[in-house]
């Protein structure tokens, strides 16, 4: 079976108009034959088709990679929907929060403030602290994006640059194109919004055992990203262990446990990454390739 590009090339070769023109001029070269323009148009068309093929495969690959995130999000958003409604918000408000924020921890923290009428300053500060880690991820993602990705596409991608989307995006080899990113963020965003709606509407439809089991899906995905990388490079393994150790320290040592979760995450990730960037710098070129 011929691909569309091959068909376009074949069309380029056997185009009847071109043959007729050759016959008419009997090989003599007149000024600029009109076939020149025709051929150029056909070649441009085949180029466009080629670009479309590329766009489509990237987009589909993105969809494929994003689907597990969608499943995980559905369950988390479901839990968020239940939580929001039980805190006194109505269904539309819960869905609006999910659609406007797309952050799990940030939204959970915002719900009591929104329902209980916390001050705007308080709201803004909470979001800043909990979500500051995204700026770290955005800087990292900016290095993975193809330089050709346009500014307007960057503005859209940034909106759904969540922990999981970032994790999957950074685990892909090479640079990332705009169609791939759109494919990647589409289903998670839909799953997140839809999951909130269903959870808010009917929190008690799903049996509790199922909700509990779905709760681990996101972490399973994280492990599937971290462990293969840690298996390949010893430095990565120790770096992750160091970060986890620091994180546990902040969780369980009495005084340190008072630091907010958002800060702990930033602090541990920054310290561990910086220490290992000094101790075991990654060889040139490996950063974008791996």
């Amino acid at each position: 079976m011929l691909t569309r590009i091959q068909r376009a090339r074949k069309h380029c070769r056997n185009n009847p108009q071109q043959k007729q023109e050759k016959l008419r001029t009997k090989g003599r070269r007149t000024s600029v034959p009109e076939t020149f323009y025709h051929r150029r148009a056909v070649c441009q068309r085949s180029l466009r088709l080629y670009a479309m093929d590329d766009t489509r495969t990237s987009f589909l690959r993105g969809l494929h990679d994003g689907f597990p995130i969608c499943l995980g999000y559905f369950s988390v958003a479901f839990a968020f929907g239940i939580f929001a409604v039980s805190s006194g918000l109505d269904v539309m408000q819960a869905v609006l929060i999910s659609m406007a924020n797309t952050t799990s921890a940030g939204q959970m923290a915002a719900v009591p403030l929104l329902a209980g009428g916390g001050s705007l300053l308080e709201l803004g500060l909470t979001q800043l602290v909990i979500n500051l880690r995204y700026s770290l991820m955005s800087v990292s993602l900016s290095q993975k994006l193809d330089p050709a990705v346009r500014l307007c596409d960057r503005f859209v991608v940034a909106f759904v640059n969540t922990d999981e989307v970032f994790a999957v995006a950074s685990s892909r080899p090479g640079t990332l194109t705009a169609p791939y990113m759109y494919g990647l963020i589409l289903t998670p965003y839909v799953g997140w919004s839809f999951g909130t709606l269903i959870g808010a509407l009917a929190g008690n439809i799903l049996p509790a055992a199922l909700v509990s089991a779905l709760g681990i899906a996101i972490y399973g995905m994280f492990l599937a990203i971290v462990i293969p990388a840690a298996k390949q490079s010893r430095a990565t393994l120790f770096c992750v262990l160091f970060a986890v150790g620091l994180g546990c320290m902040f969780r369980y040592v009495p005084v340190l446990a008072q630091v907010s979760e958002g800060f702990v995450m930033i602090l541990c990730a920054v310290v561990a990454s910086a220490v290992f960037a000094l101790l075991a710098p990654v060889p040139e070129g490996e950063v974008t390739d791996s």
Partner: protein, 110 residues
């Protein structure tokens, strides 16, 4: 009415702050970073962030610590064998579900 207004004001603040945090670095840092330290730092960031987010939060993600540990172990093993994201996530869910089915039976017999 004032309730609704204050809700939308709050929603706007939340969404605005979150979006700016995400969008500014992505839009402003357009050039390739050449500095070796920064490159290495950014290479380690995703893994450390994911590590810190997973442990110890994973042990509280399900309704019992035991099922979470089983799910965590299954996920670790499958990821070590380099299975795909969906496979690992689904297997962890199934493991948690089965453990929670079996747990009451075990506690009765013990």
């Amino acid at each position: 009415m004032t309730d609704l207004l204050s809700f939308f004001a709050g929603l706007l603040v939340c969404a605005g702050v979150t979006y700016l945090i995400r969008a500014l670095p992505l839009v402003l840092v357009k050039h390739r970073i050449r500095n070796r330290f920064l490159c290495s730092f950014l290479y380690y960031v995703p893994y450390t962030v994911l590590g810190v987010m997973t442990v110890p939060a994973v042990f509280g993600a399900t309704s019992s610590v035991v099922s979470a540990v089983v799910g965590f172990a299954v996920a670790c093993l499958l990821s070590y064998w380099e299975k795909g994201l969906l496979t690992v996530a689904a297997a962890a869910c199934i493991a948690v579900f089965c453990t929670e089915l079996l747990l009451p039976l075990l506690s009765v017999t013990v």
